[in-house]
């Protein structure tokens, strides 16, 4: 005699068994290691790869088939893209390909320097503002005042009182970007200060500098990194705008904004002069923003699995 292990249940007529539901959420697969991290967050991978390409272009610009980006060739002005001039030549006969590649250096230098400097300065001011209550009112009113001026206008004004150089462009954009970081850091610090683990650290006898270093700073890092990428992107755009309107990088240095400014008059007849630097600027900003969006997801404390 065999014992049936499965019993068939008679289904009353009119009653259908619900079909197997598909999994609404795919199981989250956590991959470990650096490559696993990139596969978990493809936007970080794409943005990072694009940015890496641009960095390599900037570093190895002299070895990528370029010629002197400032060499004039009046006889061969405004040539269309060809084997000789890959991206064409401008109205002074300079090779646009070389100029765009060298321009990458300016944009990345400005973007990365401004992101670093503005983040560090904003971090310091924001920490003081969040911890020293009496200074908070003064600092924040000053920051509000700075924020009431459009950043580009502020940068133009700052450039107007200094000489045009890449260094001055960096300083001007940094000053214009500091308020954003400061406000972010201050708000993060104020919310972190109320965290029970900070109170616990106080009752555990931890001194205030150590509380900032051990409990506050590490927890501001994630939003700071995300903010830094947005500032980097914004700085590259502002740098181009400043150069475009002639208030930024001096025209002797090839930067994307300068190339576009020079090609502006010929836009209707020779659009390639503006097109290539504009395309590079777009790609650079896109890369940095993708990286920022990806980092925002990856560093979200509610999804702290990879930290």
């Amino acid at each position: 005699m065999s014992i049936s292990t499965t019993r068939t249940i008679s289904i009353p007529p009119g009653l259908a068994i619900a079909p197997q539901l598909p999994d609404l959420l795919r199981p989250v697969k956590i991959r470990r290691g650096f490559l696993g991290f990139l596969r978990n967050y493809p936007t970080v991978a794409i943005g990072g790869a694009l940015l890496l390409c641009l960095v390599l272009i900037a570093i190895f610009a002299p070895y990528l088939g370029t010629v002197d980006p400032t060499a004039l060739a009046p006889a061969r002005r405004t040539r269309a893209p060809s084997a000789e001039f890959w991206f064409g030549s401008d109205m002074l006969g300079r090779d646009i390909y070389s100029r765009v590649l060298y321009g990458t250096r300016v944009s990345l230098t400005v973007g990365l320097s401004v992101a670093t400097l503005a983040t560090l300065a904003g971090l310091a001011i924001g920490l003081v503002s969040g911890f020293v209550r009496w200074a908070d009112g003064i600092i924040m009113r000053f920051i509000d005042g700075l924020m009431s001026i459009p950043p580009i206008l502020l940068a133009v004004a700052l450039m107007a009182v200094t000489r045009g150089s890449v260094g001055n462009v960096i300083v001007a954009i940094t000053i214009a970007e500091i308020p954003r970081v400061t406000r972010l850091v201050r708000s993060v610090v104020l919310s972190l200060r109320e965290q029970p683990y900070v109170d616990s650290a106080v009752t555990s006898g931890t001194r205030t500098p150590m509380i900032i270093l051990r409990h506050i700073l590490p927890n501001t890092m994630a939003p700071m990194m995300v903010q830094a990428t947005y500032i980097c992107a914004s700085a590259m755009i502002v740098e181009s705008i400043l150069s475009f309107i002639g208030a930024g990088t001096p025209p002797t240095i090839p930067s994307w904004g300068n190339i576009m400014a020079e090609g502006r008059a010929l836009w209707q007849v020779k659009p390639f002069i503006v097109f290539f630097p504009a395309a590079f600027l777009s790609i650079a900003v896109l890369a940095v923003n993708l990286l920022g969006d990806g980092l925002r997801d990856a560093l979200d404390p509610r999804m702290a699995k990879n930290l």
């Binding site: 555990s204 006898g205 051990r214 409990h215 404390p301 930290l307």
Partner: protein, 331 residues
């Protein structure tokens, strides 16, 4: 080493509320004249509804802010006016376990470093080997595996995190632990485990607990004495038996009658209080409970009752209990 471990005398904490630029400054009377004592090895529970100031009392004792008025005396020493330097060494003796086990632990620190922080700060271990041994012993004490030391808080469940919080509190070798709603965020089964753990630790180390809670079932299970707070004041304070079997203050009675019973068929006659808790910005005159008290009479609206002993260690702030010999009007 005689006398109470902690004495709180007429503690007041007022928070200024900033209105708009042109509005009058208001003051929240979060705690308005609270006095009690905690003996060594004793559990005193502070109960009351949300916003009655019980957590503020706990945070004042932890010296997380400066108090408005009153005295805090720990083991015969005033701690409310200590300069920061001497306050730090005092902090070791009073530790805290907070309600939310998810935000009480720094998400970026390993359990090992979380537990080592108070030990290092208070210089409780001379060598790194001693530190390591102490940290490991703490894990044993709260019944967590030692190999969990290298993990970060997000890898633990709520109950396990609360054990880590308790271990951190114990790391400072305190005499008093303020449990601010320490089990309120936990599931019933986990809650029971943590309550039992706290009781065991109290036995083992002779700890005093200030147990701040709104969960009367847990309070009844583990406390020695209970202080009932309403709108920043203690309305009744007594031993567990007296509070739960013979509450005297009308508010305590209402609070106890609101406790859900496990037997659905049991006869209950809950005292339903009307209205909301008045604003602590502008507390009622006289007895603060008079706006909702079922047995209110004229005197309550003018005259504020003081917390008076009715014998047997029971203290009540109610005009009905003004003359202990003469029995008050039947409620």
């Amino acid at each position: 080493m005689s006398g109470p471990l902690l004495q709180v005398n007429d503690l007041k904490k007022h928070f200024p509320v900033r209105g708009g630029m042109f509005s009058r400054k208001a003051v929240v009377h979060a705690v308005d004249g609270v006095s009690f004592e905690v003996a060594r090895g004793e559990t005193l529970s502070l109960v009351g509804e949300s916003g009655c100031g019980k957590s503020t009392v706990g945070r004042a004792i932890l010296r997380l802010f400066d108090i408005t008025a009153g005295q805090l005396v720990l083991d015969g020493q005033r701690i409310d006016d200590l300069p920061p330097g001497s306050l730090r060494s005092m902090r070791r003796r009073v530790q805290v376990v907070f309600q939310d086990p998810f935000s009480s632990l720094n998400p970026r620190m390993r359990v090992r470093d979380i537990l080592a922080e108070p030990i290092r700060n208070f210089g409780l271990a001379k060598t790194s080997a001693e530190l390591e041994a102490k940290v490991a012993a703490l894990m044993d004490t709260v019944r967590l595996p030692r190999d969990a030391l290298n993990r970060r808080p997000h890898e633990f469940s709520g109950g396990q995190r609360q054990r880590i919080c308790i271990a951190r509190a114990l790391a400072a070798e305190p005499e008093l632990i303020v449990c601010d709603e320490a089990v309120s965020a936990l599931d019933v089964s986990v809650k029971a485990q943590i309550v039992n753990l706290l009781q065991d630790l109290q036995q083992q180390f002779g700890l005093a607990l200030l147990f701040i809670s709104h969960d009367l079932a847990v309070v009844e299970h583990m406390t020695h004495r209970v202080a009932v707070m309403y709108l920043g004041k203690i309305v009744e304070m007594a031993g567990r038996q007296q509070i739960f079997t013979a509450p005297k203050h009308p508010y305590t009675r209402a609070l106890l009658s609101a406790v859900p019973l496990p037997d659905p068929g049991a006869a209950r006659n809950p005292i339903i209080l009307k209205g909301d808790v008045p604003s602590p910005i502008n507390p009622p005159s006289g007895c603060r409970f008079h706006t909702r008290c079922p047995s209110v009479f004229d005197r309550c609206r003018i005259d504020e009752p003081e917390l008076r002993s009715t014998g047997d260690g029971q203290w009540v702030a109610c005009h009905l209990e003004a003359v202990p010999e003469k029995s008050g009007p039947a409620l």
